[in-house]
Structure formats: C-alpha cells, structure tokens
C-alpha cells in the first residue's frame, strides 16, 4: 500500500466519523505536514464519483453526502397525525352534542369566548359545516358536524355517540338513599 492510499484511508475515515464538515486544518493535523491535502481530497472525490455517496464541499470543509439522484428514493414519509388544540376539541364536542348550534350558544355552554380561528380550523378539517341560520335576531349561523366527522371518529352515525346521560356520571344523584347528599346540616343529637 502506498502513501497516497494510506492518506486516502485516513482522510476517508476522519471525514466519515466527524460530526461536522472536516476542514483542511484538521486533515493536515491528521496527515503529515508535508501531505498535499488538496490532492488527497481530489483523489477521494474521484473514488466516490458515481457512487451512492459523494464527497461534498460544505461550510468550508468536506462531508460525505447521499448522491442527489438517490436521496429522493431513500426518503421515507412518516405520518405523524397532529392533535386538535383543546379549545377546538371542546368546540367540536359541543357542536357534536348540541347541533344545530350557534356560536353564541357554544360560548354559553363553554363559558368562554370562541375565536374565529378555532371555528376556521374545524371548518378547514371539514369536521363541521354550516347548517342554515337560526330564525332569531341577527340570524346566526347554525353549526353541525359533517360525514367527515363521523369517519374521523369511526362512527356509523350520530346516534353512535355515547348518550349525554351516560357521560354526566359526576352529576349528584337527586334522591340519595339513607345518607344526605352533601350534608348541609351538622349531625344533630336529636335522633329519629
């Protein structure tokens, strides 16, 4: 093995192992002082010509890179579905359960204002759609869910949503047996 080959091996390994582009100074430090770094780089570049990876000159140094014609074939697309923001999710839920419902009604139920952005994001995702207007002063738009909404949640139809009654589990029972519900009176010494 001749000297150039050995220099090529060293330069190749260093450029490969470095986390940043390798500069001429680092190469000189690795190789002997009298080595023509430019010549080594040129020989290395030739060696990789037409291969799956190539030697590129970036940010004042050298780095191996995937050949541009191959890169698209290596690209993999990973689907990372995003979540709806909390406000949007709550608004969607209210529309689903109270449809057709106006924006002021939604605000009343949530006990907070509803921004146009939130409504727009639901519209954009095709989860809600206008369902006519309410015949009250100002004729506000009525909102309802779309078939896309059913598809997203895997529902056959709107009746497949769990009934509201099943949800409000933490509502206090009206006639508690034996025990008073939230004992407003201290236990009295008067027995029955």
């Amino acid at each position: 093995m001749n000297d150039l080959d050995e220099h090529l091996r060293l330069a190749e390994a260093l450029i490969f192992a470095s986390s940043t582009p390798t500069g001429a100074r680092q190469l000189t430090h690795l190789l002997a002082d009298d080595v023509d770094v430019e010549a080594v780089i040129a020989a290395l570049r030739d060696r990789y010509a037409g291969r799956g990876i190539e030697l590129a000159n970036v940010a004042g140094g050298w780095q191996f890179r995937t050949a541009p014609d191959i890169a698209p074939r290596l690209r993999r697309v990973i689907q990372v579905p995003r979540r709806l923001p909390r406000v949007a999710m709550e608004t969607l839920a209210i529309i689903a359960y109270h449809q057709p419902v106006t924006r002021p009604e939604i605000e009343e139920i949530r006990g907070a204002g509803l921004s146009q952005t939130t409504l727009d994001s639901l519209l954009e995702a095709a989860l809600i759609a206008p369902k006519g207007r309410k015949e009250t002063p100002g004729r506000p738009t009525l909102w309802g869910t779309t078939p896309q909404f059913l598809a997203q949640f895997g529902l056959a139809d709107l009746r497949s949503l769990p009934p509201r009654g099943d949800l409000l589990v933490d509502a206090p029972p009206i006639h508690a047996p034996a025990e008073p519900p939230s004992d407003e009176f201290p236990p009295s010494p008067v027995s029955c």
Partner: protein
C-alpha cells in the same frame, strides 16, 4: 509457586491492606488464588485453596487489620469445609464436604468465566473507541403532519371539560328548599294533639309530604321547637327517657283544665 499472587508470608509483604482492598470480596481473592494454583479450574485443589485463604486471613488478623464481615464469614465457612475435607472418604460428613467443595469450585469457575468474558469484550473493537460510526448521519425521514389524530375518548373528555368549565362560570344559585317552619309545625302540632290520647313520638307529627332527608331533619327540628314552645305555654308535656332516645309528647290535660 512463583505464579501464586499472594505471598506465603503475608506479613512479610507489609502490603496486605492494599492487597485485600484490591479484591472485591472473598470470592475474588479465591479466584485469584486458584489461578495461581493451576489454570484449569476443573483440577484445582480446594483444600490447598482453603489453606491459602485462611493463611491470608490469619495474616491479616496478626497485623490487627479490620476485616469486613464477609471475609470472616467466608473464612469460617472455609474452615468448616477444610475440617470436612480432611475426614477419611466414605463418611457422610466427608461427602458433605466434597459436595460443598464442588459447589465452591463451580462458583469459582463461573466467576472465572465471566472474568474471561469481560476480558474478551474488552478486547473487541469498541464503537466510539476503536472504530467510529458516521459522525453526521443524514435524516432522510419526512414528517407528514397533515392528518388529524382524533379519538372518541378525547372528544368525550373535551365535552365534559367544556361543560364543567361552563357550569362553574354560572352564578351560584342555592337550591330552593321546602322548609317545614316552626310556624307550620305549631299549627300541625296544635291540630293533631287533640286527637292523640297518649304519649306519641315526635316522629308522628312530621308532615307526610316532606321528602329529602335534609328536609325531614329540618321538619323534625321545627316540630321539636314547636313542641318546646307549646310545653312552655303548658299545652303539652315532653318526655325523653334516655339520651338520644325517642322524644315523646302528650297533651297536658291538667294545665289546660286549670287555664280554662
């Protein structure tokens, strides 16, 4: 004997403190001693090993070295093992000793094997030490965040959260209670008292319509107050035979008669 790591006279070396510190417990020293004895751990003499170990411990005691408990426990056990190994073969105790010696030899072999494995691993070309992977790997993964992650649980949770927050914003309105007032009780008591010939429980004077436990308690209290009121005026008598017992009441005939 030149292979044996521990000198025959530990006192002579004067370096016993450092030496024992260099071992990670008695098993470590035993493996080392066994190594000095013979490379093939299958053929080592446990008896010779025990002697060497006990000599080290004895030496350590002579120079009043504080020995950790595990060293002394091992020394005691090895002394017991030695006594068994010195017995003529054939006796039950001798067989016991042989079995124990075999267990010890197996443990030493296992530790020795792990030492060798560790050494073998250490001799491998290690990534980041002797060989290097690519320093700047390329990320060829594109992330598509166009789709929505929606699930029914999230929808329901959001709905409940919205209702809860919406509910908490409404101004507080106490529930309307239908309270049986003292005045109501006075009227009812006055009406009913005449129709009851004998002691009756306070309970009997409660209105039938009162529903919830809270309302019943309130009615009971009102009826008791009404009863006390009437008793003060001499209209009736109240009786409670013992604490927390039933409160009984009856029309006060004499008083009424006197007044009239």
């Amino acid at each position: 004997m030149s292979d044996i790591v521990v000198p025959s006279d530990p006192l002579a070396s004067g370096g016993l403190v450092l030496h024992l510190d260099g071992f990670e417990g008695p098993l470590d020293l035993l493996v080392e001693l066994a190594r000095g004895q013979k490379l093939d751990l299958g053929k080592i003499s446990i008896l010779a090993l025990v002697d060497q170990f006990l000599a080290v411990i004895e030496g350590a005691r002579k120079i009043k070295l504080e020995l950790a408990a595990d060293w002394l426990v091992m020394a005691a056990w090895l002394a017991w093992l030695k006594s068994r190994l010195l017995l003529p073969t054939g006796s039950e105790a001798a067989e016991e000793g042989e079995a124990a010696a075999e267990v010890l030899a197996a443990r030493l072999r296992d530790l020795q094997a792990m030492r060798a494995a560790s050494h073998w691993l250490g001799g491998q070309s290690q990534l980041g030490q002797d060989v290097f992977a690519r320093g700047a790997p390329e990320d060829l993964v594109d992330t598509d965040r166009s789709r929505l992650a929606l699930d029914l649980t999230g929808l329901l949770r959001a709905y409940l959260a919205a209702l809860r927050r919406g509910g908490s914003r409404q101004s507080y309105r106490p529930k309307h209670l239908t309270i049986w007032t003292v005045k109501d009780a006075l009227g009812r008591l006055g009406r009913l008292l005449g129709s009851l010939p004998d002691w009756s429980s306070l309970q009997d004077f409660l209105p039938e319509t009162v529903g919830t436990p809270t309302e019943r308690r309130a009615a009971l209290a009102s009826t008791l107050l009404a009863g006390l009121e009437l008793a003060r005026d001499g209209g009736l008598r109240l009786r409670q035979d013992h604490a927390f017992g039933p409160i009984l009441l009856r029309r006060e005939y004499r008083q009424v008669a006197n007044d009239v």
